[in-house]
């Protein structure tokens, strides 16, 4: 029996056969939005219905939701990936988003024991181990420290993990959607430590969550003092429960699993703790059976969000190709786009702001006249690292490493405008 595995996710031949239709049906349903097919009575020269009647008042929606016409823009999960939805993942619909900010309700979720619901009054952050004073902070305490407001992307190390052996999932959302980008408000750990003091022997920090998985990761002290944050707000409002309310750890540029949600404790020690998440999981198995450990940084990566399998081309003529690029090592410096499978490249336009360890938006205008295209994008970051092809990664790492697949993807645009996730070789 053949098995493809992603983290705790088991997929075997039976699952493969059980799968049914692909996204094709969905993508073509959107054809009805073509204006020339629209028989609506709201079009010129007629008076639209919403003009001739009053709309809802200011008390109708104390907390506003997206328009009902946007109900397709949702997080999606892949049911057969996991045994339970409490230990699972869903994906951000990046193909439907613009700019670089991920709306809070669309930020992908990865839980190992479901979403904890915590009354902020009961929140405590304990700091213990190799510190001068073992201390406990309330949420109100944290909010009285000097604060920072920073944009950072969070990407799961397993984003694209299903694609190591070949193209498996026919969607931009499913192959690149374990990422989000929000502005965090919080306190720098280097400021918190001014309160507890630090013993000279402290070299590692164990970050521990209070959820039912007791999520734990070891983080080297240099990173903790450099730019790690305990955040209580995202995009201007309190963290969402599924993102760790009332407070989570921010580890800029490093794999999402380390950004411990529902944080309850930081222990300073003189060696790594070798938790389950950094041994059994989040280690990258090579073809010789050895595994890389502590591969924390998310290397530069990019994706074309439109056109994409969910965003077919519906018209001939001019189009604006859109995409996202990011690097855990700093700022994005350039993004190139190819329409012929990587043979020829042109540089895309990068949109301000370009921030370190944050998503960057790029666009690229192109003409489509019904010809086949093989669309790719390639990110270059400020360290001059160039996003690799899957073949380059496979040559060094084999196909079993699950994590850290930052290779270039290919979208095939057929003559009808339909878009497919394909592998070139």
């Amino acid at each position: 029996m053949k098995k493809y595995k992603l983290n705790n996710f088991k997929l075997n031949r039976r699952d493969l056969l059980a799968g049914t239709a692909s996204l094709g049906a969905m993508t073509f349903a959107s054809k009805s939005v073509l204006s020339d097919e629209n028989k609506s009575k709201n079009l010129p020269p007629n008076l639209p219905e919403w003009t001739s009647e009053l709309g809802e008042g200011v008390d109708a929606n104390p907390y506003g939701m997206p328009s009902e016409f946007e109900k397709n823009v949702i997080r999606r999960n892949v049911e057969w990936l996991t045994a339970s939805t409490e230990s699972s993942v869903n994906f951000t619909p990046i193909q439907d988003l613009e700019g670089i900010v991920t709306p809070n309700g669309l930020c992908f979720e990865r839980h190992h024991g479901g979403v904890s619901i915590i009354n902020p009054k009961d929140f405590r952050l304990m700091i213990n181990g190799l510190v001068d004073r073992e201390m406990i902070f309330t949420l109100e305490d944290l909010k009285r420290f000097p604060q920072v407001n920073k944009f950072y992307f969070l990407e799961c190390a397993a984003n694209g993990g299903m694609e190591w052996r070949g193209s498996q999932l026919n969607g931009c959302q499913y192959t690149f959607g374990m990422i989000h980008n929000v502005q965090y408000t919080g306190v720098k750990l280097s400021d918190l430590i001014l309160e507890t003091g630090l013993k000279p022997k402290a070299k590692w920090v164990l970050a521990e969550g209070s959820d039912s998985s007791g999520m734990t990761r070891s983080i080297p002290i240099e990173k903790i003092l450099d730019d790690c944050i305990i955040a209580w707000a995202m995009n201007g409002e309190a963290l969402r429960s599924e993102q760790g309310y009332p407070a989570r750890l921010i580890v800029p540029g490093w794999e999402g699993n380390m950004w411990v949600k529902w944080i309850r404790r930081l222990e300073f020690g003189d060696m790594p703790y070798m938790t389950r998440e950094e041994t059994s999981k989040y280690t990258d198995l090579l073809s010789d059976g050895k595994a890389r450990m502590f591969t924390w940084v998310m290397d530069a990566k990019s994706v074309v969000t439109s056109p994409s399998p969910e965003k077919p081309i519906l018209h001939k003529g001019i189009h604006q190709l859109r995409g996202l690029a990011w690097s855990g090592r700093g700022k994005i410096k350039r993004v190139d786009v190819s329409l012929d499978g990587g043979k020829n490249w042109k540089t895309a336009e990068l949109h301000e702001p370009i921030m370190s360890k944050s998503l960057a938006r790029f666009t690229f205008p192109f003409e489509w006249n019904g010809q086949e295209l093989l669309i790719q994008s390639r990110a270059i970051d400020e360290t001059n690292y160039v996003q690799p092809t899957i073949q380059e990664l496979q040559k060094i790492r084999g196909v079993n490493s699950i994590y850290h697949n930052n290779s270039i993807a290919t979208w095939l645009v057929s003559k009808t405008g339909k878009v497919d996730n394909v592998r070139l070789g």
Partner: protein, 214 residues
Amino acid sequence: MFDWVKLLTLIITSLFFMNSVFASERKFNLGKIALKKEVAGWDIDVRPDGKGAPIGKGNAIKGEEIYAEVCASCHGDFGEGIDRWPELVGGHDSLDTHDPIKTTGSYWPYASTIYDYIYRAMPFGAAQSLSHDETYQIVAYLLYMNEIIEEDFELTEKNIGKIKMPNRNGFLLPDPRPDVKIINGKPCMKNCTVPLKIIGKARDIDVTPEENKS
């Protein structure tokens, strides 16, 4: 004559000085000092060297019973994993094959991690409900099933840091990335030699969830 007052002042100031050198000043005066018993309740982690392991003991014979009762419904009687629940036993010599099976026996480098993880997170949905002795018993059972210890081996806080795991040397440090060829931000732009044949389509594999069209 000996000046007692001076000596006393000297002792007090040096105590104060030592205090401020060895225990830094608090900068913001926020938060409270944690009590020993508060820390003891939350500090549950167990390190590879056994530090943090709570006092307790257990062997595989006892472990089999409790495992069957609280773990087997998901992980299987022999740790083989039922349906998609993770397997915990076996997979030896599989790591360098096309179908690697990563279990506590074939992959995990430290026995301490098995203790730490089971105590903090399992059984799934009833975290931290096992006693320390029960946890030692279950860990002993998993180690026994993976042919790492004998059935009657008494696992304790003293020896958990000394168990030799088969894949102890299976991990590579430090991270060698960037591991791809360094091209200094100057990749090929025109007429590049690249593979252009379509060798696979996600659509053909047909495992993408179908959109709910309601």
